[in-house]
């Protein structure tokens, strides 16, 4: 399994990131990708921008552990995870998770597992600046905990707890 994990302050182009995943080899039958984008609305307030803080060193370690666990659960050819830190603006890509596998079911499972675990186990924190000039830390969501918990029983099927509405302007 080829793995690339990056945490970066610079903006990234999710399409450029997908190029090597789509070219991962003639044995690859499917690529599943998730791109998380910043939304402009949170709890009814227009969000002007968001600042992502992380724990340098631990973040990369946590992401590597999550991807490694995915690679043990499913047969994967390539995984790429890219995550922004610093200031992001509405519609900016915040995170990309791309998975190449011989079989589509495994690519879907692994991609959703990685983003669900990232959202509950990787040390990132969002602070949002609303358009009225105020600023607040984004609260962790129970639905994310539920989504991650759905994987912990070793089930191959995805958790179903991630579909309820959210008032959060962070990408889901």
């Amino acid at each position: 399994m080829k793995v690339e994990i990056r945490v970066q302050a610079n903006a990234f182009d999710p399409l450029a990131e997908l190029v090597p995943v789509h070219a991962a080899g003639p044995q690859v039958g499917g690529v599943v990708s998730f791109v998380g984008l910043m939304r402009d609305l949170n709890q009814g307030d227009r969000v002007h921008s968001m600042t992502l803080e992380h724990y340098p060193g631990m973040t990369e370690k946590a992401l590597a552990a999550i991807v490694d666990e995915a690679g043990q659960r499913w047969a994967l050819d390539m995984v790429r995870v890219v995550h922004r830190v610093g200031e992001v603006l509405p519609q900016d890509p915040i995170v990309l998770v791309a998975v190449a596998s011989a079989h589509r079911g495994e690519a879907f499972r692994a991609c959703e597992f990685i983003i669900d675990y990232l959202k509950t186990r990787a040390p990132f924190w969002k602070r949002e600046q609303t358009r009225d000039g105020s600023s607040r830390w984004v609260e962790a969501r129970d639905s994310d905990d539920a989504a991650a918990a759905g994987w912990s029983n070793g089930a191959e099927a995805t958790p179903s707890g991630s579909a309820e509405p959210t008032a959060s302007g962070e990408q889901t």
């Binding site: 998380g36 992502l52 803080e53 992380h54 724990y55 060193g57 631990m58 370690k61 946590a62 995550h83 915040i94 995170v95 983003i115 990232l118 959202k119 509950t120 186990r121 990787a122 040390p123 990132f124 924190w125 969002k126 602070r127 830390w137 984004v138 609260e139 962790a140 969501r141 994310d144 962070e170 990408q171």
Partner: protein
Amino acid sequence: MIRVLYFASLRERLDCDAESLDAAPSTVAALRRELATRGAPWAEVFASDQRVLAAVNQTMAGDDQVLTDGDEIGFFPPVTGG
């Protein structure tokens, strides 16, 4: 000596991003108790009903994890990345 790091809302509430402590408490729980004795805002942040996560040497750690000299301990709120 141990190194203690604080992140996100904790860093702001404590007005502290990192410090070194000469003596390592026996466990993560003991460190939490020691920090809570400092009075406001530390007492509130490390009150038992607050959800403050801990990492030891950059890996998530439970309260019973034993600390040794040279460890890096991070405290932070529930994560909100992705």
